[in-house]
């Protein structure tokens, strides 16, 4: 993206030069509009042709110019291995302590965000989870019936900033079942404004849990 942006910016400075070259190669307004050729002097025709070529290139450049997208990346990882798989022990006579996973959220170009942005954490019914080491400013709502947690990212990040920001916190997990089973935690990003152009990098991650 940085390279493309550099090229686009570089071309911008070359537009007048390219306009002259294109006119020389025959891109002339006077060829399409006959009265220009008939009623204006050769010098004036050339000036009109040059102005037209340069204007046309500026219009094309603006149409294809690249916008800074909001880039959000979320990752959910086990504590010991950098993967999105963890193993949880089923309920047995020896009570077990909660396992934990780490969630990190990266955001770039947040200054484009117009409204509220949320991270939704959905989890399966056969596990119980709780947020730990919560950043002081973080606001979230956990719905124990729907089994989800909605985090307001506006409380976690400064949406005025363009630069890269990162936040990390823990989720503690306990099994709700006495049987071996599969389980999962899924993350998704939601916006309350359609015009927030979201580009979710590498898609939003999920955590696969094996209860043994």
């Amino acid at each position: 993206m940085k390279i493309i942006k550099f090229i686009v910016n570089y071309i911008e400075y070359m537009i007048p030069f390219l306009g002259v070259v294109l006119t020389g190669f025959g891109l002339r307004l006077s060829t399409f509009i006959v009265p220009i050729k008939e009623k204006f002097s050769t010098d004036l025709q050339l000036e009109i042709d040059l102005a037209f070529s340069i204007l046309l290139l500026y219009i094309i450049k603006n149409l294809i110019s690249f916008k800074d997208y909001i880039i959000i990346n979320t990752e959910i990882k086990g504590p010991r291995t950098p993967t999105n798989h963890i193993t949880l022990e089923k309920i047995d006579n020896e009570s077990i302590m909660p396992e934990f996973v780490e969630i990190s959220i990266d955001i770039l170009n947040a200054h484009h965000i117009k409204g509220e942005l949320y991270l939704e954490i959905r989890y399966a019914r056969n596990i119980e989870i709780a947020i730990d080491n919560k950043p002081n400013e973080l606001y979230f709502k956990q719905d124990h019936e729907k089994k989800n947690i909605i985090i307001s990212l506006n409380t976690l990040f400064n949406f005025m900033l363009k630069n890269y920001q990162r936040e990390t916190f823990k989720l503690k997990i306990l099994s709700n079942t006495t049987r071996a089973a599969d389980s999962s935690i899924e993350l998704s990003i939601k916006s309350n404004k359609i015009r927030d152009n979201l580009r979710i990098k590498d898609s939003v991650e999920g955590m696969y849990i094996k209860i043994i």
């Binding site: 009570s95 019914r125 119980e128 709780a130 947020i131 979230f140 019936e145 503690k172 006495t178």
Partner: protein, 165 residues
């Protein structure tokens, strides 16, 4: 000695204690028969422990006993010195001490990755009772008096472990 597990009713947010006999291996059966759609397990996070310790510090009927960590390597004893001071100090200095203790716990939990396994709270009224509260929501107490446990829950834990975010 009593062992119990804390649950919270999903609809009413009321705390429920279910007792079980550890020596009879009743934990699994108790959990197997539990309706998880009705009430959920409680995970005592580091954030909740901080709130509990803060509340205990301001209640003259209770004292902080010990804090046990999951890792075998014991952390430095700075937090123990703070607890000692907290238990004997006057209210005016408590705010600063609680902040110090919270910072110490947060550092151990986040930067050093050593989570809290349990906290011990001592009820100082009449006969002393020791209560252990584990991070998986299990409580153990050196009493058979369930009323005392209920009082402890109402005094210290209600409004913290079942608070609405």
């Amino acid at each position: 000695m009593l062992q119990g597990k804390l649950f919270v009713n999903i609809k009413t947010s009321k705390i429920i204690i279910k007792y079980y006999d550890y020596f009879e291996n009743n934990y699994r059966n108790m959990m197997k028969n539990h309706n998880f759609e009705e009430s959920r397990q409680i995970i005592i996070t580091t954030d909740l422990i901080k709130k509990i310790l803060s509340k205990v510090s301001y209640d003259n009927n209770y004292y902080i006993g010990n804090i046990n960590f999951l890792e075998c390597i014991e952390p430095d004893e700075q937090y123990l010195n703070i607890i000692d001071e907290l238990n004997k100090n006057k209210v005016v200095q408590k705010k600063q001490l609680i902040k110090k203790l919270n910072d110490e716990i947060a550092e151990l939990s986040t930067e050093k990755g050593n989570d809290i396994e349990s906290i011990e709270i001592i009820c100082g009224t009449e006969s002393k009772i020791r209560l252990f509260l584990y991070s998986n929501g299990i409580i153990t107490a050196d009493t058979k008096d369930k009323n005392n446990i209920t009082k402890f829950i109402n005094d210290i834990l209600d409004g913290i472990i079942n608070e609405n975010n």
